[in-house]
């Protein structure tokens, strides 16, 4: 029953909240749609922690896309032996995870412990987001290191379980049974991922949708008419 709620209902609720929330926020709150940069309050730690966090996060996302979306059969068909795949995935995962972890720890310390100034510019949405993100990182590392990396022939292969379930969500036929054999850490990680998606529109994470692609082709000087 819990599995059904978490892996068949909750993903759709979370995505719906995210989409509706994004549209709502975009329409009513252009003014609040920002990275909420805190560089003004502190920049020495930010200067190295922020790139570490962001690059780490991007690599982790890429890793998830690869691990969850690419079926095992494909990599096997391409001639990648499971052991090699495992080695590459785990080592890249550990590096990316370490960057993300160090970056996050530095940013959290900076924000909540080192500088009073920063506590003053921290919003409630940030705190919720930091808690979920922190838990996710802990769970993610636990899985990568505890369940997968330390065992040469892992007893549990998420690509035969979590990945199947994840892909089934997109075709609107959630395969809850595929999640049943997953250890609790994997289950919690999967459910929390959707919590992150649900709080997305209400936190500073919206800035992810503001990647300035148009800047690459735009003329240098922007002219606008009065009142436009």
């Amino acid at each position: 029953m819990l599995d059904l709620m978490l892996f068949a209902v909750w993903p759709y609720v979370a995505v719906a909240v995210c989409l509706v929330g994004l549209v709502w926020r975009w329409r009513v709150d252009q003014f609040g749609w920002t990275t909420l940069t805190s560089l003004l309050s502190e920049k020495r730690i930010l200067n190295w922690a922020s790139p570490l966090f962001h690059v780490g996060a991007l690599l982790v996302i890429l890793g998830h896309v690869a691990g969850l979306l690419i079926p095992k059969a494909w990599t096997v068909a391409l001639g990648v032996p499971p052991a090699t795949y495992h080695l590459v995935a785990v080592s890249l995962g550990v590096v990316a995870g370490a960057m993300l972890t160090v970056g996050t720890v530095a940013l959290v310390l900076r924000r909540f412990i080192l500088r009073t100034r920063l506590r003053l510019v921290t919003r409630r949405g940030d705190i919720v987001m930091y808690v979920i993100l922190g838990l996710q990182i802990v769970l993610g590392l636990w899985q990568t290191i505890g369940f997968t990396a330390l065992e040469a022939r892992p007893s549990f292969d998420y690509r035969d379980s979590v990945s199947l379930w994840f892909r089934s969500i997109f075709v609107l036929q959630p395969d809850v049974a595929a999640m049943t054999p997953a250890p609790w850490a994997f289950k919690a990680h999967a459910a929390l991922a959707f919590a992150l998606i649900a709080v997305w529109p209400f936190s500073r994470l919206v800035h992810v949708f503001s990647i300035p692609i148009g800047y690459l082709t735009r003329p240098a000087i922007v002219y606008r008419h009065q009142g436009s």
Binding site: L39, K43, V121, P212, Y215, Y223
Partner: protein, 487 residues
């Protein structure tokens, strides 16, 4: 060719007493909210000095403005687009509060509530941001009037760049004030650097603004502006900058800083420029000459015809022809741009200050028996020419000397006139007596309507008016709330 109009300003530094009324009235009008404590759209600095933020002119550190690369192309000092986008996760050149200052207030309650004892209560400084006790170590006016000159004035980047050895001992030094606002540049680096396209230049009057709704807090504008005149709001994480008081300008009123200036030293007017020529001018070999040639002659029939065909309203053309800015900057050549070598084509210009003569006039190469030897006068002034040239002419001392000589000639001519004597001052500076008298009028006795020639905006389009009906954009939100525990 595409002729556009630009609101421009000239400040006559001879008259600035450094009272900072402009800074205070500007702050009361625009930045008296939470989150913008450190922001001074207008600030007044003492020269020599470090300015605000400290050493803002040191572009090796801040990498603001533009430069011309080996192939003659104009590019932002921060690098090409890829290099700039690589700074999206951190921006080492953007100043933090530690580079500006920690705004402070005082524990005034203590003065009222202290128990009756034999000791005088002391109001300790408190951070205006955290409310915690703090030691005040720097601020936007820290080295005002050469305060602490050996420490602070000595760090002036302009002093490092000149040959003249400047004495900083108080009795031997010199000083003048430099009020600064955003330059509303023709080639604004802040606009070019903004990844979100939130910074823009207005077509009608050239005012450069930050669109708070489009800003995503990438803080590239802050580091790209060589004058450090875009700031981040601490609470909203969005860019804010001098607006040239556009709601007043659109109604034909001068900016707040200009209206309240006790020295009445600010002038505002329209100049015409060719938008299509901006790029080439910004990359030109001689940045001062480029700034000057950006201002087109509003009486030139070719310019008039082009302006009309580009849709410039006739009252704006009239204003451009009566512009005190064009008169001071181009016809009289007394006003000069601030750091033209930043290549943003700045539009707030300055009339450099005259200063007392050095005693050793003869030693400076002039004729010290002739007090009216204008050429000797300017080289013998206490403020070194090369220092002024560093600020206002990209090092071109002749341009500064030309301006100072004309200012000296005005005085000489008017003195001779009131004494009923003949004089050769006008000839000496290549001007006509009428030129000098016009300049005298504008600098000494001009009425408000002569100092500010500001045509009203054309609001005929109802769509524009409707767009403004939305109410106050700064109401509510984090900027408008007071933090707990503070009066």
């Amino acid at each position: 060719m595409k002729i556009m109009a630009q609101m421009a300003m000239v400040m006559n530094l001879d008259k600035c007493i450094g009272c900072a009324t402009c800074s205070v009235t500007c702050k009361q009008t625009w930045t008296n909210r939470d989150g913008v404590e450190h922001i001074w759209f207008n600030n007044v600095e003492t020269n020599p000095g470090v300015g605000y933020p400290a050493r803002w002119e040191d572009q090796r550190r801040w990498r603001g403005g533009w430069r011309v690369d080996q192939s003659g192309r104009l590019c932002l000092r921060q690098g090409n687009k890829a290099e700039r986008l690589a700074r999206i996760f951190n921006n080492p050149e953007a100043p933090s509060l530690d580079d500006y200052y920690e705004p402070a207030t005082y524990d005034y309650q203590r003065l009222i509530k202290a128990p009756l004892t034999g000791l005088t209560p002391v109001a300790r400084p408190l951070s205006a941001i955290t409310g915690e006790p703090m030691a005040i170590k720097f601020g936007p006016n820290w080295d005002d009037d050469l305060g602490g000159s050996a420490l602070w004035a000595a760090r002036d980047p302009d002093l490092e760049a000149i040959a003249t050895k400047v004495e900083l001992a108080f009795e031997q030094s010199f000083m003048f004030h430099l009020p600064r606002i955003c330059e509303h540049c023709l080639n604004p680096a802040c606009v070019a650097a903004c990844p979100s396209g939130a910074m823009f230049k207005r077509v009608e009057d050239g005012i450069v603004l930050a669109d708070q709704d489009k800003c995503r807090g990438f803080r590239m504008c802050v580091s790209a502006c060589p004058y450090k005149k875009v700031y981040m709001n601490r609470l909203t994480g969005k860019a804010e900058k001098c607006t040239f008081c556009f709601p007043r300008i659109e109604e034909g009123q001068e900016t707040v800083c200009s209206e309240t200036c006790v020295g009445r030293l600010r002038y505002i007017g329209v100049i015409l420029y060719d938008r299509d020529a901006v790029g080439a001018l910004a990359a030109a070999d001689n940045p001062l000459a480029a700034c000057r040639s950006a201002m087109l002659d509003p009486h030139d029939p070719g310019v008039i015809a082009a302006a009309k065909s580009d849709g410039l309203p006739s009252d704006w053309l009239d204003a451009a022809q009566a512009s005190p800015i064009y008169e001071l900057a181009i016809r009289q050549l007394v006003a000069l741009p601030l750091h033209p070598e930043y290549r943003t084509l700045p539009m707030v210009w300055y009339i450099p200050p005259l200063s007392p003569l050095l005693e050793a006039t003869g030693a400076m190469g002039g004729d010290d028996t002739d007090a009216d030897d204008i050429a000797a006068t300017v080289t013998a002034m206490r403020i070194p020419l090369d220092y002024l040239a560093q600020l206002f002419a990209a090092g071109d001392q002749a341009a500064v000397a030309g301006s100072l000589m004309r200012l000296a000639a005005v005085r000489q001519h008017m003195r001779a006139r009131s004494l009923g004597r003949d004089d050769s001052a006008a000839e000496a500076v290549g001007a006509s007596p009428e030129d000098l008298e016009r300049l005298y009028h504008l600098l000494a006795v001009a009425k408000r309507s002569d100092r500010f020639v500001i045509p009203k905006a054309h609001h005929e389009s109802t769509a524009q008016v409707a767009a403004w009906a939305g109410g106050c954009p700064v109401g509510g939100g984090p900027g408008a709330t007071r933090r707990k525990g503070r009066a």
